[in-house]
């Protein structure tokens, strides 16, 4: 790769100082799996890089008073292996499991997946269905932004040039919850399309309550699907109910046609994945 000036920060303070001084003139690099590929393919050309991989304070997953906090530098492999995530947010474990390959998952951070703002980012639908919040830090202080409001278009976000994502947090799912993440296409290489569907709800007397659904790769950003959620709210699971919700998901999808697949195909896949996921988690639960 071409030589780019790189500053390696060892502490959060150091990183925030550099960003306060250089803002737009320097690009953050965490695991590097997006940044390096974008540089190689000349899709983005940074003037300088700020390497944050050495900031130990951003590497932990904690659970405290029902709130789960994931540091920005936690890798998808660590999420996939975390007992806290397995118990408290199984849909996020499923999303992390699917990302790339072991060699990618060991590098790819959750902060990078969010900040890259790709409509096909796998952890984002799961985080959105969890109603997760991003913490952004700068020399000016800290602010919190819902994941659902962070990306404004492909590669575009509300992050200001001097801000660093430090963590993402959400309420642990209550024990009576069901959740899933379903994606079409196991590997980036082989996948035809990467439509992804994240779902979570509680089961109260066998009926869905507090339903949230998020859809990936069917719009310029990952989107919430409120009408799909409404089609399930208060209902008992049945194939007919799932079918009705699937039609809502197809209507809420706004996929574009590209090299990989047509918009019509993608929109319909969103419905099909919802049906598949619901069957998987509801089978035998009555």
């Amino acid at each position: 790769m071409r030589e780019i000036e790189t500053v390696a920060a060892r502490t959060l303070d150091e990183a925030l100082d550099v960003l306060a001084r250089r803002g737009d003139g320097i690009r953050v690099i965490a695991g590097g799996t997006d940044v390096i590929v974008q540089e190689l393919e000349r899709r983005k050309e940074a003037r300088a890089l700020l390497s944050i991989g050495g900031i130990g304070a951003l590497r932990s997953i904690t659970e405290d008073g029902g709130r789960v906090r994931i540091g920005a530098l936690v890798t998808h492999r660590e999420i996939e292996r975390s007992p806290v995530i397995r118990r408290r947010a199984p849909l996020l474990r499923e999303a992390a499991f699917i990302v790339g390959s072991p060699q990618i998952k060991n590098l790819a951070t959750i902060g990078g997946n969010i900040a890259n703002a790709s409509p096909v980012a796998d952890s984002v639908p799961a985080l959105m269905a969890l109603e997760a919040t991003i913490t952004l830090a700068s020399r000016r202080g800290e602010r919190r932004v819902p994941v659902a409001e962070f990306a404004t278009g492909p590669g575009r976000t509300v992050r200001r040039p001097d801000e660093l994502i430090t963590e993402v947090s959400f309420d642990a799912l209550p024990p009576d919850s069901v959740s899933f993440y379903e994606r079409l296409g196991q590997r980036r290489l082989l996948s035809i399309s990467k439509v992804g569907v994240a779902f979570r709800a509680r089961l109260r007397d066998g009926r869905f309550a507090g339903v949230a659904v998020a859809l990936g790769a069917v719009a310029p950003t990952v989107i919430m699907a409120p009408r799909t959620a409404a089609a399930l709210e208060g209902e008992r699971y049945s194939p007919e109910v799932a079918g009705r919700a699937a039609r809502a998901a197809e209507e809420e999808s706004r996929a574009i046609t590209d090299l990989r697949s047509t918009s019509d195909y993608r929109n319909r896949m969103a419905g099909a994945l919802l049906v598949r996921g619901l069957a998987r988690v509801m089978e035998g639960r009555g």
């Binding site: 030589e3 780019i4 790189t6 393919e41 072991p102 990618i104 060991n106 980036r188």
Partner: protein, 155 residues
């Protein structure tokens, strides 16, 4: 240019290099460790797999700026390693190697897998090696070899 210090196969090294030079290039060109191969150069084929702090990573996506203090294991270091030796023997015996270009990457991914999951199921072997591409073998004998090594190590 920056100077970074890290360990490779148990030996401390210090190299002066561009901060955005990849670990793959440093290994092959600066340190002469050409066992690690370049395939795609962008994370998709696994030919460049090495272990960094015990975890399998694509060395084409690791840059010098993040290397300070890391512990790297490459295919050249496998002969001095119990799991590594068992894997090398099993690959030969199972006939898992054809042209051989992908094999260093498969060995390293398998080494990471067996260190973490000593008796992997077929599904776990497939997942552990899902980041590696082989254009020759069709994978079956590679999976057999990993299975064979795991069974021998368990004895």
């Amino acid at each position: 240019m920056i100077r970074v210090g890290f360990t490779v196969n148990g030996r401390s090294v210090s190299v002066e290099t561009s901060p955005t030079r990849t670990l793959l290039d440093i290994l092959r060109e600066d340190l002469g460790l050409t066992g690690t191969k370049e395939g795609c150069g962008k994370g998709e084929c696994g030919a460049c797999t090495v272990l960094m702090d015990g975890r399998a990573v694509a060395s084409c996506l690791v840059i010098a700026a993040g290397l300070e203090g890391r512990d790297v294991l490459t295919v050249e270091g496998l002969a001095g390693d119990r799991i590594g030796r068992a894997l090398q023997d099993a690959f030969v015996e199972a006939g898992a190697v054809q042209c051989g270009y992908c094999i260093p990457g498969f060995l390293m991914a398998a080494r990471a897998l067996l260190a973490e999951t000593p008796s992997p199921s077929t599904e776990e072997i497939r997942e552990g090696l899902s980041g590696n591409i082989c254009r020759c073998t069709g994978y079956v004998k590679i999976f057999d070899a990993v299975n064979l090594a795991a069974r021998r190590l368990a004895r």
